[in-house]
Amino acid sequence: MKSCLIVDESKVIRLVTRKILEDLEFETEEATDGQSAVEACRRKMPSAILVEWNLPVLSGIEFLRALRALPGGEAPRVLFCTLENDLQHIQEAIKAGADEYVMKPFDSEIIRAKFALVGLL
């Protein structure tokens, strides 16, 4: 079973995302900030990571850099999920090693499409 780490400060978002991902038969794990997300990855590297751009402690982009520096940190597909739709952010994220981005608010169709795009489905 594939696993996905959901990193978002908002519990509401995490709940919604978890529901969608469980329907897609993902095993989910959650983290509330960039730092605890890094730790979660250190414990167990997930197959996919859905990460919010704005996070406390470590921001999304800082998390991404830390993740890619971890042993095995290249493996997970990382999807940035953000409201900040300007090109600059997306470019910055892709440059730092993100695989795809998702705009909030998303629904199960969008997630399914994006996950398919990065080869998770």
Partner: protein, 928 residues
């Protein structure tokens, strides 16, 4: 409300709370990137989540708010004070929307276009700042609308049109988690969407096409006018850095408040059960339960502490609105105010927190409004321009202390005094006797805060605040120094539910009193320095330099006559209630116990002297005294009684005459009484010391042998233990009358009804509505001293001159019965009449007496009139007269002599009477 929405509300409320705490910092340095980062993330999260939930209004506000703050955060714009106010307003709008959402489950209709327009103007970099209120409302609305329209194109399309995502998700979630709620949720969502759509249609500006100027707009409508001198743009670091130490994610679990309350109740029951067990084991020293019970006790205490902690919240939560209020007041009044908050993390019970929020806000508002001076005055006074309001919270002795201080002008004591006098709270004279400190406490009394005083005196409606604080068992003090500032100190118990209390006993009833109110305990013994004294019949205690008014719990509660008569063992609980210090007289202090306060049942709620009830370890339910309710009764019980007697006309002076009686039990259950005046002492003797001599029981007493008799001749004497006795003394001889129990002493109108001729009894009387046998002390004296009368006779002058005749005039059968044997035993032949009229009638018959003894207080003709009548003329003009008085006083004495009495004897002074009779007769003889 579905889970997702409530989750959202909860989460956002938490984030808002964090933001509120940082508000002070934000006001001090609006360009602090860290705080801007936090506000930004809050807006960001709200925007994101409300998109999911289809909360369009919230999303609209958050979106533009986020936009503006991002620019501030990134340093693209400089935050000016006006912009800061605007940001705060934006946050407030979010909060307000959330509040309504929580109430109704759906977003309220409304229009945020004006504010959005303002924010948008700021965001567009027109770096405005001076807000000018535009008089013409329409103009403002149009401007707002235009702004809104112009900004519409930059909005992302995500949330504009319908909410399929949220709809789908909510349905799914609801179906998956709570099938029962599905219909409701759907219904609510549908309703909310409909409402939203409807509101969009006519009022919502934001991303919609330009709306009609709504009637709501003028109310909030302010437009921004560009200011020529644009603030410099400078960079201020990044949000990422700022975000580092501000983790909102904590390891926590949401708990329903009801669950906590329930836990607290259970803890209460547990404490009660523990107390009960402790009570049971207390009497068995070596019980096998002792050790485990100690552990249980320990664990219970820890458990209690734990749950209490779970109920607590940092007091900072009560302060969150303060920075905003102070900020607004400062802007409005042109003052510079710094709000310093110390100890914001001090934990306080949630229930208390809720109740002190308003009082605290009121006090801070007052300090900002009235306490602190305008900058120009401060400069003149040599103070820094910026005034400081300091909040400080800390724990002390199981209480939470909150200080609210300002360095403002302080109270103008002259004005306060004026206000107090004007409100009739105290007179000038009373005020003169008070120190400033005491006068300041009067501010908390009702009525001081009248409008004319409010502005400068800052009397400020503190009575309401004070009442609120008192309601949660707190106390409040004010210290103020003119020109230096005022400090309010609030002291609140940690939790209102379980309090340490003192268990008292009075007349066999037990009561609890919270220990917070108890200052000290004083044992008042009859002869020591701590004796209860009376001023105007009000009991008082002289405690060092203090005259403490007392209230007897027994009298206050009219506890009947179960009271032990060992009055010299009274305990006085020195109690403080607000500014009153007083003593409560009780019989005993039994214990200290942690009691669980149960609310007072409605049927007793009108009784202000109780604050609740509790269950003791032994299962008994007892009342908890409320010192604030008891205080008004201190020193006033007797006053009230006096008023009662004044209003009730005295039917007849003599008939109402009161006699102190000692009530006891002996030889049976019925009550017996003897006039206290006849009893020399109450003693308790050790039966082991009793010896037998000549078939009588005797005991060594004050260096002599004192015979003992029991009331009941058939009584089987104990051979050991304590035996209470009444000591009757006649000259040098004493005798002890053994009784079973001394019950009480009462003041009662003695109306003896003669009973069957039983030796030792004078008759019976109704004392406190109970039939009571009044015993004849003389009878017992003659029993012990068969030669008593003879001995007396040998020593009285009457023996020399044969039997002297005495006329005794007394309306009281009791006294007549008491005195006749005494006088007879002294060799007088006694004639008694029950009134002066009858005595004068006797005079008409030509009867002659050697001496006349007359009571002064009698119905009809009293003793004085009688004496005058006797002295005026007639047969008895030269007969010596002796007055009997129950309350000899100087004026009465003088008046007695003036009307012709020759001597004057206090009732019960039997020796005195006998002496006086002999003397009067002798001197009368000498004249002859």
């Amino acid at each position: 409300m579905d889970d997702l929405l409530s989750e959202f509300l909860d989460e956002t409320a938490k984030n808002l709370a964090v933001l509120d705490v940082e508000r002070v910092k934000f006001e001090q340095d609006p360009n602090d990137p860290e705080i801007l980062g936090n506000i930004f993330r809050l807006m960001h999260t709200i925007k994101g989540t409300s998109g999911f939930l289809g909360l369009a209004r919230l999303e609209g506000v958050a979106l533009v708010g986020e936009d503006v703050i991002r620019k501030f955060r990134d340093g693209a714009l400089q935050v000016t004070p006006d912009a800061a106010t605007l940001i705060l307003r934006c946050i407030d709008t979010v909060r307000e929307l959330l509040g309504k959402l929580e109430e109704s489950g759906s977003e309220p209709r409304g229009d945020d276009s004006a504010m959005i327009a303002e924010l948008r103007t700021v965001a567009d970099g027109k770096m405005p700042s001076r807000r000018t209120r535009v008089e013409a409302a329409g103009e403002s609305a149009v401007a707002a609308a235009r702004e809104a329209q112009s900004s519409a194109h930059v909005e992302p399309a995500a949330s504009v049109d319908g909410f399929p995502v949220a709809r789908e998700l909510l349905d799914e979630l609801a179906a998956a988690w709570d099938p029962d709620l599905t219909t409701t949720s759907e219904g609510e969502i549908a309703a909310s969407i409909t409402a939203e759509r409807a509101s969009e249609g006519d009022t919502r500006a934001g991303p919609q096409p330009a709306p009609e100027p709504s009637p709501l707009v003028p109310v909030t409508g302010t437009a921004l006018v560009e200011r020529p001198e644009s603030a410099p743009v400078e960079s201020n670091g990044t949000a990422d850095k700022a975000a580092k130490d501000a983790s909102l994610a904590t390891q926590s679990n949401r708990l329903d408040i009801a669950l906590l309350e329930n836990l607290m109740t259970l803890i209460g029951e547990l404490v009660l059960t523990r107390n009960q067990l402790l009570h049971m084991v207390r009497d068995h020293d070596d019980s096998e339960f002792t050790v485990p019970l100690q552990r249980l006790s320990h664990i219970t205490t820890k458990f209690h502490e734990g749950v209490m902690k779970a109920r607590t919240q940092p007091i900072g939560n009560a302060w969150v609105k303060l920075p905003r209020i102070v900020h607004d007041l400062a802007v409005e009044m042109g003052k510079k105010i710094e709000l310093v908050m110390l100890g914001a993390d001090t934990e306080i019970d949630r229930q208390i927190l809720e109740r002190i929020t308003d009082p605290l806000t009121h006090i801070v508002r007052n300090s900002a409004d009235h306490g602190l001076e305008a900058p120009e005055y401060r400069t003149i006074a040599g103070k820094p321009e910026t005034g400081t309001i300091t909040l400080n919270a800390y724990h002390q002795d199981g209480h939470i202390i909150i200080d609210i201080g300002d360095d403002g002008r302080g109270l103008d004591m002259d004005r306060v005094r004026e206000g107090i006098v004007a409100n009739g709270l105290a007179t000038d004279a009373e005020l003169d006797a008070m120190g400033d400190q005491q006068v300041q406490q009067l501010i908390f009394k009702a009525g001081i805060s009248t409008a004319e005083n409010v502005t400068s005196v800052s009397g400020r409606g503190m009575d309401g605040v004070h009442a609120n604080i008192e309601k949660i068992g707190g106390v409040m003090e004010l210290k103020s120094v003119a020109g230096r500032g005022s400090t309010y100190t609030i002291k609140i118990p940690l939790t209102p539910a379980i309090v340490p209390a003192l268990i008292l006993e009075c007349s066999g009833e037990r009561f609890a009193i919270p220990q917070i109110s108890v200052l000290k305990l004083v044992r008042a013994s009859g002869n020591a320095e701590n004796a209860i004294q009376r001023i105007n019949d009000s009991p008082i205690l002289r405690l060092r330099d203090l005259l403490l008014p007392l209230v007897s719990l027994h009298d206050l509660l009219k506890l009947g006559d179960n009271r032990k008569s060992e009055r010299d063992e009274d305990i006085i609980v020195v109690t403080q209630a607000g500014n009153d210090t007083f003593g409560i007289i009780v019989d005993r202090v039994l214990d200290t116990e942690e009691i669980v306060v149960k609310p007072i049942p409605p049927i007793l709620r009108h009784l202000s002297i109780y604050s609740g009830n509790t269950i003791l370890g032994d299962g008994n339910v007892i009342m908890i005294l409320d010192p604030k309710g008891v205080a008004p009764h201190a020193g006033k019980v007797a006053v009230g009684g006096a008023e009662a007697t004044e209003t009730a006309p005295r039917v007849s002076a003599a008939g109402e005459e009161k006699t102190s009686l000692l009530i006891f039990r002996a030889g049976g259950n019925e009550l017996k009484a003897v006039p206290l005046g006849l009893v020399a002492r109450l003693e308790e003797i050790d039966m082991a010391n009793v010896e037998r001599a000549h078939g009588n029981l005797v005991v060594q007493y004050r260096g002599r042998l004192m015979p003992l008799v029991h009331f009941d001749p058939a009584h089987a004497w104990k051979t050991e233990g304590r035996q209470p006795i009444l000591v009757f003394t006649d000259r040098v001889r004493s005798m002890g009358l053994a009784v079973d129990e001394i019950v009480d002493t009462v003041e009662n109108v003695l109306d003896v009804e003669l009973s069957e001729d039983r030796p030792g009894l004078i008759g019976s009387a109704f004392i406190d509505r109970k039939a009571t046998d009044v015993i004849d002390a003389g009878y017992y004296l003659t029993q012990v001293f068969p030669d008593w009368s003879a001995a007396e006779n040998g020593q009285t002058p009457s023996a020399a001159g044969g039997a002297r005749s005495v006329l005794l005039v007394d309306d009281s059968a009791f006294f007549r019965n008491l005195l006749v044997p005494l006088l007879s035993d002294n060799g007088y032949s006694v004639t008694t009449v029950e009134s002066a009229d009858n005595a004068l009638r006797l005079r008409e018959t030509g009867a002659r007496f050697d001496i006349i003894v007359s009571d002064l207080d009698m119905p009809g003709m009293d003793g004085f009139a009688f004496a005058e009548a006797v002295r005026n003329d007639g047969l008895w003009r030269d007969t010596p007269m002796v007055a009997l008085s129950s309350h000899p006083t100087e004026p009465e004495l003088a008046r007695g002599f003036a009307v012709g009495f020759d001597d004057y004897v206090a009732k019960f002074d039997r020796e005195g009477l006998v002496r006086s009779l002999a003397l009067s007769i002798t001197s009368a003889k000498n004249f002859e």
